[in-house]
Amino acid sequence: MRSIRGCDEPTATPQFEFEGENLNQCPMKFLKRPTLQYLRHFRFFQMGWLPQEGGIMDQTAKFVEAMEYLGIQFAKVKEDAQQPGSRAYPPP
C-alpha cells in the first residue's frame, strides 16, 4: 500500500489530486509536524478531549484557533464531497 500511495518513493503515475494539481507522492508527506499534531488533536477535540486540564478558556489561544480553523476546513470538504460528481472523500 505504501508503494502504491507513494509514501516512500514518488509513483510512476499520479495517485492523488490536490487543488487541480496531480501528486505522485502521498499527501501526508507535505504536512508539517505541527499540522499533524493539530489534526491528531482535532479528533480528540471532537470527542471533547482537550490537551490541557480545564475548559476551552484554559486551552492555548493557538490551539483554539487551530481547532476552529480545522472545523471550517472539514465542513468545506464535507460540503464539497456532497456535490454531484465530486471526487473528494468525505471526512471521517
Binding site: H41, M57, A61, Y69
Partner: protein
Amino acid sequence: MAFTAIRRDEIREYVSPRDPDPEKPTVWLLGALDHRTRTYIDDMTTEFEVSSSSPKDKAKVSLRINERNFQLVRWGLRGWRNLLGEGGQELAFDTDTVSIDGKSYKVVAQRLMELLPYQVIAELAGQVDGQNRLSEAEKRNLG
C-alpha cells in the same frame, strides 16, 4: 521540537538579531498564551465604536498598541538568560501573581517590565503575538 503552542508550558527561545552583544546575547523565553489571556488582552486593548445615528456603518476600531505590547510581553515572557542590569549584574527574573476571572497567573513583575526598553517590549510583543496565532503558512498547511 517545533513550537506548536498546544500546551501552555511550551517555551520558545528567542534571540534578537539586534542584540548589542552577539557574543553573549540575551535569550528570551517566550511562552504560549491561553485563550482566557488572549481574550483578556484583546478586550483590554481594543475598542469598537458604532455610530448611534448610522448603526449600519462600519464600526470604528481603536487599538491601544503600546498597552497591547506591554500586556503581551507581561503575560507571554516566561524568563530570560544573560539580561544584564545596571552595573553589569545579571538581572534575576521575577513574577507577580495576577488573576483573571478568578484564575491565578504568574506574569512578569511590574518592576522588571518597567526596566525593559520600549523597543525591546515592541519586538518581544511581536514575537509573542506571532507565535500565539496561526500563521498564513500554517493555515495553508492545515487547509
